[in-house]
């Protein structure tokens, strides 16, 4: 036994305080022209020159562990292709996903070793926890990892390349 990790995504209009969307457990995660977890990217492609809907995903840690700490996130492998940029940020704030350029996001198109990636904090009440910390000793959630694909008219038609997003953490 060890920590159990489950990926979640939130979608839809931001509601409540702190703001959140509707939570879904996910086994896949695609950037596309619709804000949901079910439509395939082939069925709702991002047109050249447009942006995908922003995506808010996070990890929940449960199961058996003493402490989770030192969480890092990075785009670690693969490229999406010419004219396609991958933008990302780590945040505790959920904003209704849209195709507008995501504010405060960094260009993470180039790969980075995860050890040099963005630090991610952990909260006990959810990804929007008001007081996240670098470690937790009970069931906890990472902050939101918000990403968006932004394209130019130079983007090639057809499916994009594939990338690997990595979360690294310490567990004992």
């Amino acid at each position: 036994m060890a920590a159990t990790t489950n990926w979640y995504e939130q979608n839809g209009t931001a509601t409540g305080s702190p703001a959140h969307g509707t939570e879904s457990s996910i086994s896949s995660c695609d950037w596309k022209n619709v804000d949901d977890t079910t439509t395939s990217r082939a069925s709702s492609p991002v047109l050249a020159g447009a942006n995908s809907y922003s995506k808010y995903i996070y990890l929940k840690f449960s199961g058996t562990f003493n402490q989770i700490s030192a969480v890092k996130f990075a785009h670690t492998a693969g490229t999406l292709g010419t004219g396609i940029n991958l933008m990302g940020k780590v945040t505790s704030t959920y904003v209704t996903p849209s195709t507008s350029a995501m504010t405060g996001a960094s260009d993470i198109t180039s790969t980075t070793a995860v050890g040099s990636g963005a630090s991610v904090l952990l909260g006990t009440s959810g990804p929007n926890d008001a007081n996240p910390a670098t470690s937790q000793t009970t069931t906890c959630y990472t902050q939101y990892i918000a990403t968006q694909v932004q394209t130019t008219n130079a983007a090639n038609a057809g499916d994009s390349g594939s990338v690997t997003l990595t979360i690294q953490y310490n567990e004992n």
Partner: protein, 153 residues
């Protein structure tokens, strides 16, 4: 050590003067509650005992199939890290990895597994162990925190 029944490549073992605490093969805490969403791991048992018997910890070991890594605290102010390896035909290889040069106080054990979870081409993967880290931290005479951690793959 029941390594064959464990999902872990290495299990830890803490040797106190009057007691040995060993990581459960499934990392279960002594007060494990099967219906709980979350349980502490075996390391919580070590921490709880250590909090009341810190001066009695002689060594903390990471035990694998053929190799063992030890944080030796027989002299707690001067921790030593070494490995022992079983070679062919019973040969033993002892390797000194690190010896603390400055006297330390309030020495504590560091142990964790470095983990990685990925989303590859849109598909969520299972987390995997990148390495097992053990070491120590303590306070030197100048009040500075000193630590040494080794990561075993």
């Amino acid at each position: 050590m029941k390594l064959k029944n464990s999902k872990f490549k290495y299990l830890w073992r803490a040797n106190f003067i009057k007691k040995t605490i060993t990581q459960h093969p499934e990392d279960k805490y002594s007060g494990y509650k099967p219906d709980a969403e979350w349980n502490p791991s075996s390391f919580r048992d070590f921490q709880n005992y250590f909090d009341n018997h810190s001066g009695e910890l002689m060594s903390f070991e990471l035990v694998g199939e053929d190799k063992k890594y030890t944080v030796d605290l027989a002299r707690q102010w001067c921790p030593v890290i070494y490995s022992d390896e079983n070679g062919r035909w019973g040969a033993q290889k002892h390797t000194l990895i690190h010896r603390e040069k400055r006297p330390l106080k309030n020495v504590r054990i560091i142990y964790y597994r470095k983990m990685e979870a990925t989303i590859e081409n849109g598909v969520v993967g299972e987390p995997r162990v990148l390495g097992y880290a053990i070491g120590y931290q303590g306070i030197d005479a100048n009040g500075n925190n000193r630590q040494k951690v080794i990561t075993v793959i």
